[in-house]
């Protein structure tokens, strides 16, 4: 049987952290700039600013996926279980919001896509914590 190293024991995640930081900064910077630009600004320029954080985010996701591929088998299992917890939680949140929206009008200033997506991140962190706990 072919023997091969299953993991990069101590992967260098610095680039990943840097890209994550750049993404978070660019997200809030884009929101500030959009607020400062106001309505008179051209639609295309507002759209360009709004989509700018996507660049570091996609790069961050690429490094994240690469780090999962390089992780050893237990770490990959932990990440799979984290997703198995986070995904249904995300579905429940969306379903609740959809049903509540049918029942009562929701204030889009407090409940919109920009308020919902961070929950997915926290669901994933929760899943990761639970999954890690299982194998400690």
């Amino acid at each position: 049987m072919q023997s091969q190293s299953r993991t990069e024991r101590k992967p260098d995640n610095r680039l990943q952290y840097v890209l994550c930081g750049v993404w978070i900064l660019s997200y809030f910077a884009a929101r500030l700039v959009l607020k400062a630009m106001g309505e008179p600004a051209a639609e295309w320029s507002r759209l360009a600013v709004a989509l700018l954080p996507l660049v570091p985010f996609v790069l961050f996701l690429m490094t994240f996926i690469r780090s999962i591929r390089k992780a050893d088998e237990l770490e990959r299992k932990v990440h799979l279980e984290a997703l198995a917890i986070a995904f249904p939680l995300g579905l429940v949140l969306i379903m609740i919001l959809a049903l509540v929206q049918v029942a009562i009008p929701l204030n889009t200033d407090t409940w919109s896509y920009r308020h919902v997506w961070p929950f997915f991140f926290f669901f994933w962190l929760f899943g990761l914590t639970v999954a890690r706990q299982r194998y400690q």
Partner: protein, 71 residues
């Protein structure tokens, strides 16, 4: 599944970190296998067996089958 990994490692005076280096996995993985919380994949089990010059059956001992009310 139970295993003798901790005993075999202790016989060689290896730390979990040292064993994980030899196997190419993380220390957490070695710890999870030793404590029985994680069953290794077949390739990893083969690598462990090869490292200790034993057969997989010598190191890993499956749990006895759960008795069922046979009908």
């Amino acid at each position: 599944m139970k295993n003798d990994l901790r005993v075999l490692r202790a016989e060689r005076n290896w730390s979990q970190g040292e064993l994980s280096d030899r196997l190419g996995v993380s220390r957490q993985t070695v710890n999870a296998i030793e404590t029985g919380r994680y069953d290794p994949s077949l390739p990893l089990a083969f690598d462990i067996a090869r490292l200790f010059a034993r057969s997989i059956e010598d190191i890993f001992h499956p749990d006895p089958p759960v008795a069922t009310d046979g009908a």
